[in-house]
């Protein structure tokens, strides 16, 4: 065998098209970062000053103002928990139907699928804070606006997870139901629902975990919860109270995550 044929037999991992598209991705990444670095407006004095400012803030946070917990932080925390629970339930109630409408096998009408998919993307792209601005304008400040804001933002995530689970579900039981003459609603309840039940639990728990974090922020625009206490403390420059609230959020988030992991192990 000559070296020429050996050359031709050399194993190359990727096809030319794959290599080209990989190169394109890397090139685009490098170009995007170079552009961002070159054009971003950062005031250099602020950057040099940052470590000093952070240390200054940290010293002002100490000692933590524990006495502030009972009169102000605890009620706000309870409100946050209620808000996130209600938001998760509402989000599931709205997101699951849209998810079924977006799944191509459960709803065989293309235009319905497309509209449902658009609803999923649009609700997800508008962040909770912006939803909260709307609902505060509609229902006035308070936890109701916050719960609705988180619920509407979670439609996208819940619906996406559900439509994917429905599309992956097994056709056999659906066809068996169709053969008995089941209506579309009966197919969904008896055929698809039992198959996506594990998804339901994991999505509900996961989303609740996220919603607790989200609901800690909404107080900034007046939508209730512990964020309102945080905002008040920052506006009054009471850093010792800020430290207490941040610590509370940290502990609650870790607790919720532990609970969710435990329930997950048992249920799924």
């Amino acid at each position: 065998m000559t070296t020429a044929t050996l050359e031709m037999q050399r194993w190359i991992r990727f096809t030319p098209l794959q290599r080209l598209s990989r190169f394109a991705v890397f090139f685009a990444m490098a170009a995007a970062i170079a552009w961002a670095l070159k054009t971003i407006e950062i005031i250099p004095e602020f950057l040099y000053d940052a470590p000093e400012q952070v240390v200054d803030m940290a010293t002002r946070m100490w000692p933590i103002d524990w006495d502030h917990f009972w009169p102000a932080v605890w009620p706000a925390l309870v409100e946050t928990m209620h808000m996130s629970a209600m938001a998760t339930i509402l989000g599931l109630m709205m997101g699951i139907p849209v998810g079924f409408l977006a799944a191509r096998n459960a709803t065989p009408f293309l235009w319905v699928n497309l509209i449902a998919k658009f609803i999923l993307v649009a609700t997800r792209s508008i962040s909770t804070l912006i939803w909260a601005l709307f609902f505060v304008a509609m229902f006035g400040p308070g936890p109701l606006a916050g719960a609705l804001a988180i619920a509407f933002h979670s439609i996208g995530f819940i619906g996406k997870m559900f439509s994917e689970a429905v599309e992956e579900s097994n056709k056999g039981s659906i066809e068996a139901l169709q053969a008995t003459g089941a209506t579309r609603m009966q197919q969904i309840i008896m055929g698809y629902w039992p198959q996506v039940l594990p998804t339901f639990w994991s999505v509900a728990l996961f989303r609740w975990d996220i919603n607790v974090r989200e609901s800690a922020v909404l107080g900034l625009v007046g939508a209730g919860g512990i964020g309102m206490a945080l905002n008040a403390a920052i506006d009054l420059i009471q850093w010792q109270r800020v430290a207490l609230i941040l610590l509370t959020i940290f502990i609650v988030v870790i607790l919720i995550e532990t609970i969710v992991t435990q329930i997950r192990k048992k249920v799924i």
């Binding site: 670095l37 602020f46 962040s127 308070g142 800690a216 959020i249 988030v253």
Partner: protein, 267 residues
């Protein structure tokens, strides 16, 4: 033996398979009772809903026609993009060593616990909360946004990458170690090839989520389109609000499509 006699003989009756579990029912009742209570605390009344829906309709009517004033929207969107790119880059660069330190199969327990604590810390605060603190520390502008989203990226990529490293096969690492490789060589030839594909997926997802969040941190003054949106909201310029929101949805949709494309290229 016939089926009938089998059914007679066995102690198991059909109803036992679907026996109602008292524990489960109690749990459902408890959850339901809690939800009723929580709903009551939200202060929902028919009167309030009626008024609210009325406001909402007026509000939506104010959105039309959407106003796309380029001179205000484009710079904001570009700044959001800059924040998203730079925070993804810095966040990922910091997350890689932290994830390696946090992997329990590579490190002694005390090192991995410290690193995991750092990851948990970064994960538990919403980017907007970090953004508020960052605005107080380094002033208004894109720098605060970059710091906030860098924190979020460390938490997200750090957690998923360290879990991915913990799931790798030990055999390849042992084989590399047996050749007398140094620690860095073990990482480069034993660990990286096993987690590379998943890592690219995490980073693509992270960049997408940073893009989403970078349109939000502006609400607290940390740069990007969010600031423009918030000020339009405060001066009741709802046509402009609608224009900005449509632009954000468009940007996020483009980001999602690109993310799917990048994942497909590297599969």
């Amino acid at each position: 033996m016939s089926v009938a006699s089998l059914a007679e003989k066995s102690d198991v009756t059909r109803s036992d398979f679907f026996a109602p579990s008292l524990k489960k029912r109690l749990a459902y009742v408890a959850v339901f009772a809690y939800l009723v209570y929580a709903a009551a605390t939200l202060g929902l009344s028919l009167d309030r809903i009626e008024k609210g829906v009325g406001y909402g309709v007026r509000f939506l009517a104010g959105f039309f026609p959407p106003n796309f004033t380029e001179t205000d929207i484009i710079p904001g969107l570009l700044e959001s993009l800059q924040i998203a790119f730079l925070s993804s880059l810095i966040g990922t660069a910091l997350a890689i060593p932290i994830a390696i330190l946090a992997a329990r199969n590579l490190m002694p327990p005390w090192v991995s616990w410290l690193a995991r604590l750092l990851i948990i810390f970064c994960r538990s605060f919403h980017p907007v909360i970090v953004a508020i603190i960052a605005v107080k520390a380094v002033g208004f502008g894109a720098l605060a946004g970059i710091i906030a989203l860098t924190f979020a990226s460390i938490g997200f990529v750090g957690k998923l990458l360290s879990e991915a490293i913990e799931e790798i096969s030990k055999k390849q690492i042992e084989a590399v170690r047996a050749t007398g490789a140094s620690f860095m060589n073990v990482i480069a030839y034993g660990v990286v090839p096993q987690v590379m594909n998943r890592f690219i997926g995490f980073v693509a997802y992270e960049t997408d989520s940073n893009l989403r969040n970078s349109t939000m941190v502006g609400v607290v003054g940390a740069g990007g389109i969010g600031g423009t949106l918030f000020s339009a909201f405060q001066r009741f310029d709802y046509n402009f609000v609608a224009g900005i929101i449509i632009c954000i949805i468009g940007l996020v949709m483009i980001g999602e499509v690109l993310q799917i494309y990048v994942k497909r290229v590297f599969r």
